[in-house]
Every structure is written in C-alpha cells, then in structure tokens.
C-alpha cells in the first residue's frame, strides 16, 4: 500500500464509523409528524451509495432547504447503505411510522409498490414542468404502468474509470471501446511477480457487480428482466458471464472485490481500470494522485448501461398537507440549480435538461469532459432490475456470479439456478399481490 492511500482510507474509515454510530443512535426513531403547529415536519431517509463525502453534501442541501422554507422542516436521516435504508423504511412501514420521503435504489420501486407504500404524484408532476424537463430515461425509473411515484435525484450508471498514468506507462493512449479491446488492454496493464499480482488490469466494484453485470448483458442487446420474470439464463447473459470468467482465468481481474475496496485500489494504483458508479467521479478525481480518465463501458453488440441511484419517493400514508410538503421538498432537491450543484459536487448525472443547458454545467463539462461521458452514456441506459422481490433476486444473481467467478460452478448452471430461484420468488410475490 502506498502512502498516498493513507488519508483517503482513513477519512473513509472515520466517515463510515461516524455513520454507523449515527445509525445506531437512530434506532429509537422520533415521531413522524409534529402536531399543533403550522410547520410541517418531515423525515427524509437516505443512503450513501458511493465513495465520497456525500453525507455532508446532502445534509448541506437540506439545511439550505430548511433555511429557505418557513413552513416545512426536513429532518435528514442518514441510514447507511441502500439496503439499510430500504430495510429501515420497510420496517417502519410495518409499524406504521413511515418517513415522509426516502431515497432507495430505483429497483426497489416494485417492492414498495407491492407494499402499497407510495403516493402517486402523476397529477402534481403534470401540473409542473416535470415531464418536460426531466431526461426521459431517468424519469422512467420512477414510473410503473404510466404512473409517477417519485423524482429522480441521484442518477448514476457504471462507467469505466482508468488511470491515465498507468496507461501512458504501458504505452496505451486510448480507453478500450469493445470487449475485445477491454481484454487486451487489461492484459497489457496487469503486472505480476510470480503468483502475486501487484497491479490488476481491471476491477469491478464488488457488491454492486450484479448491477455492472446487467450492463454487460445490455451490451449484448438484452434487458434480462421483465416486470414479472428474469432471464438471467438467456444466451446473452451466459455469454457475458463467460466473458467475465475468461478475464478472471486470464488473471487480469480479481474474482471478488468490495465496493469501497475497489475504489481504494483504483486510487492507490493497484488496479488500472475500474467499473464503478458515476457518483464516485468527484471523489475519485479529487483523491487520486494521478489523472483519472472516464470512458463509456466498452460495447459488445451495442453500448449499454444500467441506471443506478435513486428517486426520492413519497409515502402514501400521510396527510395531504404533508404529501404536499414532501412534494415541495422532492421538487426542490431536483430543481435545476440543485441538480447542477449535485452533479458538479458528486458526479451523479443531473436529471434535468435545463441543468445541462445552463451555463454553469456547460462550463463544468468543458473543464471536466468526464462529467459528460456519463450523460452521453445515459442515452443507452435503462432501469436496473425492477422486479418484485428485487432484494432477494439480486442476492441470487450475486451469489451466482460470485460462485462462478470463484470457480465453484460453471456460468450456465449458476445462471440457470439463479433464474429458477428468482422466478420462484417473483411468482410468490405476484401471488401475494393477486
């Protein structure tokens, strides 16, 4: 480990530690609505899903909101990871103390709809400029059967980050554009001393590798799910996993990694290329002691990407005045100005056309062309695994990928097994809903 890694990791450690302590302290929740005053008090539960100082930025935004709104006060509740946040909301739904607004991964939409937890905000959106000004791809992640249930706030896709210094050292002057080039480039950048690898060619952000995997399947021109089933065992998906296995067997990519660990490895120069969320852009750029390149994920049959990150959803079970206030808050968090700042400070893709048309973001995109890569790639992006029972289905898929990459099972059997188990779970949930 180089000394450059030290401050980054330490800061992250403290951040996570503080987060865990905050989360632990919040286990006794405060009551949902204040009574008897004109001020509407709302809770907003949110996760930090990427590497970087997101928590500070979100709290700052909410402080600004509270300062500029007399009648609405929002209490920010940092709830850990996406999984932690969604789980906290579900538990609070069970006991009837739901927060007014929360921020899950977009894939959880069907799960919350299945719990009858979401307010339909289509009418409010139509009375506003939502349908005109949001990028359609991003708005669609909050939609089910043509009804709108939230506003896209932190939109991301995986992108290919690469270390320009290591590229130059290996005499490579451009990022790979196809799977074949990806393999060749990764081979050229892998450095090993005997059995030890001191520098990997490529690392996928583990923990969300299922999200990255869906991008690969989309690059094979297939969306591997519909609203009531998954097709992880389709030839396009098996082909994608076989490609992954090949990279592991060639020794250019580790068979497993973690979300934060892979980002740390990239910043420390232990992997030359990294698939990670666009939301990590600002932090990777700031904390890496080298120039960070950003490119489209290489294509196979086509370019393809999966939208991660999430919408701000609003609870159905709340008085009208609160729903109105929740809308005001969600609307404010996603207004042109805030999306611009959010995009600049984090790397999440601004979801509004007007943000991208504004001078500020135009100037920023000129200065940091990387910021625009994600936007351009978003033209090939779609929602991530929006099926009932997403959490469990995801686990089945991840387990299939992990076991395959660890060499315990072959791609076809693993994906067949995951498909069977996932569809059984989806059927169970559909049966419940009927």
């Amino acid at each position: 480990m180089t000394s450059t890694k030290l401050p980054i990791s330490r800061r992250h450690f403290l951040q996570v530690g503080a987060g865990a302590i905050t989360a632990a302290g919040m286990l006794g929740t405060t009551p949902l609505f204040a009574s008897g005053t004109d001020v509407v008090k709302l809770q907003f539960m949110y996760p930090v899903g990427v590497s970087g100082d997101i928590n500070r930025i979100v709290t700052g935004m909410i402080n600004n909101f509270n300062a500029s709104h007399e009648k609405v006060q929002v209490e920010p509740i940092y709830a850990g990871s996406y999984d932690n946040t969604e789980q906290k909301v579900m538990t609070s739904l069970g006991v009837g103390e739901t927060p007014a607004t929360w921020l899950p991964i977009n894939s959880a939409l069907q799960t919350f709809l299945g719990m009858d937890a979401l307010a339909d905000v289509t009418a409010m959106a139509k009375a506003d400029d939502i349908y005109q000004d949001f990028l359609p791809g991003f708005l669609s992640i909050c939609e089910s059967e043509e009804k709108l249930y939230g506003l896209p706030f932190q939109c991301s896709t995986p992108v290919l980050y690469y270390n320009k210094d290591l590229f130059a050292k290996a005499g490579i002057n451009k990022a790979p554009d196809t799977w074949t080039e990806l393999m060749e480039t990764a081979k050229a950048l892998t450095i090993r001393n005997g059995a030890d690898v001191s520098q990997w060619g490529l690392t996928f952000g583990g923990g969300w590798h299922d999200w990255i995997f869906e991008s690969f399947v989309r690059q094979n021109a297939l969306v591997p799910w519909q609203k009531d089933k998954v097709m992880f065992d389709a030839p396009e998906a098996i082909d994608a996993l076989e490609f992954w296995v090949k990279m592991v067997k060639e020794g250019v990519m580790p068979s497993a990694s973690t979300w934060q660990g892979s980002a740390n490895d990239f910043m420390a120069g232990r992997t030359a290329m990294l698939y990670h969320s666009t939301g990590s852009l600002a932090n990777l750029r700031k904390s890496s002691p080298f120039e960070v390149g950003v490119a489209f994920m290489p294509k196979n049959k086509t370019y393809g990407a999966t939208i991660g990150g999430g919408p701000i959803l609003m609870a159905k079970n709340q008085p009208d005045a609160h729903l109105q206030a929740s809308w005001t808050f969600a609307r404010w968090m996603t207004n042109t100005q805030n999306q611009t700042h959010w995009c600049k400070e984090t790397g999440y893709i601004a979801a509004r056309k007007s943000s991208w048309e504004g001078e500020e973001l135009k100037a920023f995109a000129n200065e940091v062309p990387a910021a625009k890569v994600a936007l351009d790639q978003a033209a090939y992006a779609g929602a991530f695994l929006q099926v009932p029972g997403y959490h469990k289905v995801r686990e089945y898929l991840k387990s299939a990928l992990d076991r395959t990459l660890a060499g315990e099972i072959d791609p076809t059997s693993a994906l067949k097994d995951a498909t069977k188990q996932s569809n059984r779970e989806i059927e169970r949930l559909m049966r419940r809903r009927a």
Partner: protein, 306 residues
C-alpha cells in the same frame, strides 16, 4: 418464599402436593418468561415455516413443505451453514485452549495477578459492536496496524476483511481474542476448587508441570470445560454482531453465517416464512450437535466426589 409456604401450610393438602405447589410457584416467574420469549416464538416459527408470511403484511398463505424444499436446494443457505460450522469448529477449540493456558498461568500467586486477570478479561467487557469497529480499523488493508506489523515482519500484506479468503479467518481471530477472556474467567473459578494437595503430592513424585496439567487439572475441571464447550458452541452459532458490523456477510458471502442469513431473509427480503424455516433448521442442527457432544465428551466428564 417463607410467607408463601406458610400460606400454603394452612390448607389441608397432602405433603407431596404442597411441595409440588411450592415448586410450581417458584418456577412460575421464569416459566412465564420462557413461554413468552422462547417456547411461543419457537412454535410460531414452526407454524410460519409452513406458510408464506411477509413482514408488514397480514396475509398468510399455506405452502406445505415448499420453504423446506427451498432451503435444502438453496446454495446460499449451505454456504452460510458451512461458514458457521467452520467458524465454530476452529474458534471454540482454539479459544478454550487459549483460555485454559491463561487460566493455569494466572492461577498462581505471582505479584499483581489481579491486574493480569483483569487485563485478559478486558476484551469481554468491550461491547461487541465497538470491538468490531476497532478491528475493522486494525484490519484495514491500507493503514491498519496489523498490515503494518505484517510488513515489518516481512510477511505479505493481506486484504483481510476485503478478501473472500481471509475475511472469515480474520473474524475468527478476533472472536478468539474476545471469547478467551470469558472462558478464562470460568475456568479460573474452577481451578480454585482443585485441591492443592494433589499438586503437592505430584510434585513430590516428580511429575512434570505438563503432566500435572493433563492428568490432574484437566480431569478435575472437566465439568467446567464441558460447560465451556457447550456455551462456546451456542455462542458461536449465534454469531451475528461481529459479522454484521465488520463485513455484512461479504465479500461474496464468504462471511455469511446462519443468523445473518436469517436476519437478511426476515428483514431485508421480508420473507418471514423462509427465515423461520432457516431458524428451525438451525435449531435442529444445534440440537444434534449438543446431543453428539453430550454423548461423547459428556460421558468423559469427571465429577469430583460424586
């Protein structure tokens, strides 16, 4: 109790009836708690395991054996089962050996022995979540002191909690550190009761310290060792906090254990029926394991004077 007994004495019961009534009255408080928080939940989870039950929903559907069929064919269940078994089989014996050596070493009249005892017992007093966070720091690949030490000793630096090979062993090392002090205290209490004259006689006969340990100490505290083994197994099958704090079961489910898997199914996937099924399987496994130990180790226990 005296008042209660007097009260019962006033009624013309048979003596035996009186006695059992007193016994029942004395058992009642703990019986209420056991029923409410142990037996009733076990029965409920048995009922749930044959149904489709979802967290936060009133609707329950009968499934028959479907949940059990799913559990048995679920690769993740078997993985967490293997992880739990591996954890137990390595952690508990090592922790007991460490604890026994510590206890014997601290059962002497050296100066400041109370201080040493407190020092070795100290890990037990640290809340497990806090201990977990501290070890996350110790194991950090970049700046963690453990990798610093490995480096200073010329050993390769490891990824520890970020590596699917080393994450579980890393948690096991920490658990041994945490369990040893606890076991040590129990064993130390038992050592105090071993008659000193046995050692004196052995010394006169020229028996070595090692043989004293194996032939006098261990047999005489075997009831306590047996107790520690059982407690240790129960503790280790319940391991949840360290895994939850340190790795959340990752990377690639390499540290997923049965209790965490139950938790994930119940609260992340809201599938109470399936979680109950896994919980019942866990209950059966522990039952079998304890029975096996009782039948083997339990038979060899030596009860002094009985």
């Amino acid at each position: 109790m005296f008042v209660l007994k007097n009260f019962l004495m006033r009624f013309p019961f048979q003596n035996a009836t009186k006695e059992s009534l007193v016994a029942f009255a004395m058992l009642l408080p703990s019986l209420i708690f056991l029923t409410a928080f142990t037996y009733w939940p076990i029965l409920r989870s048995l009922y749930f395991s044959f149904h489709d039950v979802m967290l936060g929903s009133d609707k329950i559907f009968f499934l028959g054996w479907e949940n059990y069929e799913r559990v048995l064919t679920d690769s993740l269940f078997w993985k967490s089962f293997r992880n739990t078994a591996f954890y137990t089989l390595i952690t508990i014996p090592l922790a007991i050996v460490c604890a026994l050596l510590l206890a014997v070493a601290l059962d002497t009249k050296i100066r400041g022995v109370a201080l040493y005892r407190s020092a070795f017992f100290y890990p037990v007093m640290i809340p497990s979540v806090a201990a977990g966070m501290v070890w996350v720091f110790l194991y950090a690949p970049g700046y963690g002191p453990i990798n610093g030490m490995m480096d200073a000793l010329g050993l390769p630096k490891l990824e520890w909690l970020y590596s699917s090979e080393w994450a579980l062993p890393a948690i096991m090392v920490m658990s041994i550190w945490k369990y040893s002090g606890y076991f040590m205290l129990i064993l130390l209490a038992a050592l105090q009761l071993v008659p000193r004259d046995l050692y004196e006689a052995a010394k006169l006969d020229g028996v070595s310290t090692w043989h004293q340990l194996v032939h006098i100490t261990v047999p005489l505290i075997s009831p306590t060792i047996y107790f520690v083994v059982i407690i240790g197994i129960l503790h280790s099958y319940q391991i949840f906090d360290y895994v939850f704090v340190m790795t959340q079961g990752g990377p690639a489910d390499s540290t997923n254990v049965l209790t965490l898997y139950i938790y994930q199914n119940a609260f992340q996937y809201q599938d109470i029926g399936f979680a109950s099924t896994v919980a019942n399987m866990l209950l059966v496994f522990i039952g079998i394991l304890i029975a096996l130990i009782a039948a083997t180790l339990g038979r060899r226990v030596h009860y002094l004077g009985r």
